[in-house]
């Protein structure tokens, strides 16, 4: 016997108060700027529209050009890659390229598990991701010696992004976990490793933001705090339109 779904509260089953509450929640939507920020975080776009990989017409969701490009991608990308591309809308072309690149990346990189403190619900992973705490933190280096990652955005050729994006993601996940665990020194050390390995990483701005956060996590009135303010000022001056600008300003405001 088929169970029939009950009438939804918003469709009349709820009181006026209940409907008002639910309507307020239903009115909240993500901003287009937030979606673009995700595109930037994936290294697929600046503030403007996304260009197709061939450098031709900018990708437009639903346009014939986009559909043709997606069709071409199907030959090499899996259905899951297509889902990611389609889900992210106007950045679909770039994301499909990204997904294809990830699939082609060396096994050790493409399959690196997230170092976040929770597990993703994929098929049982016999080799669970190494917790951030298991990473032996290197000896703390003087703050002045820690060069910040370039926050000017990905200037390296496409070849660099292809090979290392998955690794960048995992490294920055580990940094976040260390910050969440209250270990900013270890986080800074990991960011130093990141900067050495990715001289112009796709997620360079994300790394710069995390570095500022890690520096501010030290005691106030220390050199770390002063360094954080210097780097934050430089970041905001050089990248005023960055999606990370608000976050950095909030960090500074909280640290006052």
């Amino acid at each position: 016997m088929t169970m029939k779904d009950p009438v939804r509260l918003l469709d009349g089953a709820g009181s006026a108060a209940e409907q008002g509450v639910l309507r307020a929640g239903a009115a909240e939507q993500p901003s287009e700027a937030a979606r673009q920020r995700l595109a930037i975080a994936l290294g697929l776009s600046s503030a403007g529209p996304i260009e197709a990989p061939s450098g031709g017409e900018p990708a437009r969701t639903g346009s014939p050009g986009a559909a043709d490009a997606l069709g071409a991608m199907q030959a090499t990308a899996t259905l899951s890659a297509k889902w990611l591309a389609v889900t992210l809308g106007t950045i679909g072309i770039g994301a499909a390229v990204l997904a294809t690149q990830l699939l082609r990346a060396p096994d050790g990189q493409a399959r690196r598990a997230s170092a976040l403190e929770y597990e993703s619900p994929a098929r049982p992973d016999p080799a669970p991701s190494a917790p951030a705490a298991a990473l032996a933190p290197p000896a703390q280096a003087p703050i002045d010696e820690i060069a910040p990652p370039s926050a000017a955005g990905p200037a390296s050729p496409r070849r660099g992004r292809q090979a290392s994006l998955a690794r960048e993601i995992a490294q920055l996940d580990a940094v976040r976990a260390l910050l969440a665990d209250g270990d900013p020194s270890a986080a800074l050390a990991r960011l130093r490793d990141y900067a050495r390995e990715h001289t112009a990483g796709v997620l360079a701005q994300e790394a710069a933001t995390l570095r500022i956060e890690a520096l501010l996590a030290h005691e106030p009135h220390t050199r770390a705090h002063a360094r954080a303010r210097t780097e934050a000022a430089r970041f905001l001056r050089d990248n005023p339109q960055s999606p990370h600008a608000n976050r950095i300003q909030a960090l500074l405001d909280d640290a006052r």
Binding site: R23, G25, L84, V86, A113
Partner: protein, 166 residues
Amino acid sequence: MFRADYRFIWRLLRRLGVPQDQVDDATQQVFLIAAERLNDIQPQRERSFAYGTALRLAQTLRRRAQRETPSDACDERPSGWPAPDALTDQRRNCELLDRVLDQLPLELRSVFILYELEALSSPEIAELAEIPLGTVASRLRRARARFKTLVELETATPPGTRGTGA
């Protein structure tokens, strides 16, 4: 459809109690993880994967937020909201919704959100959350009952005395 999953995950995280100023970043994390795990995701199960990841991430972020200074989840005006004149009622309702949903256990809260706010059918919820249809019906029934009681209590209690036991 092409923007549906992004909006879906964003709204899901928001209603699962992720602090307002962290929802964008949390949504980004879900999709970055999905991008990283594309090799492992079964075709046609992408949404389930993203849903499960979002659920776990929301739990983590809520635990972290509870350890830190509590902030007003509705401080920032979300996208698509009306002009300030009409904002007061919606903001109040938004805050009320946050308070009510925070009192639902996660398994009830998630089913309630998917059914009442995302308008998924029970079979769709069962497939997405990988739980039996009967479980969906049971959780929805319990969630709705608690939701009604909590809204009634919230709207009957004068604002100045909420949470004080008065």
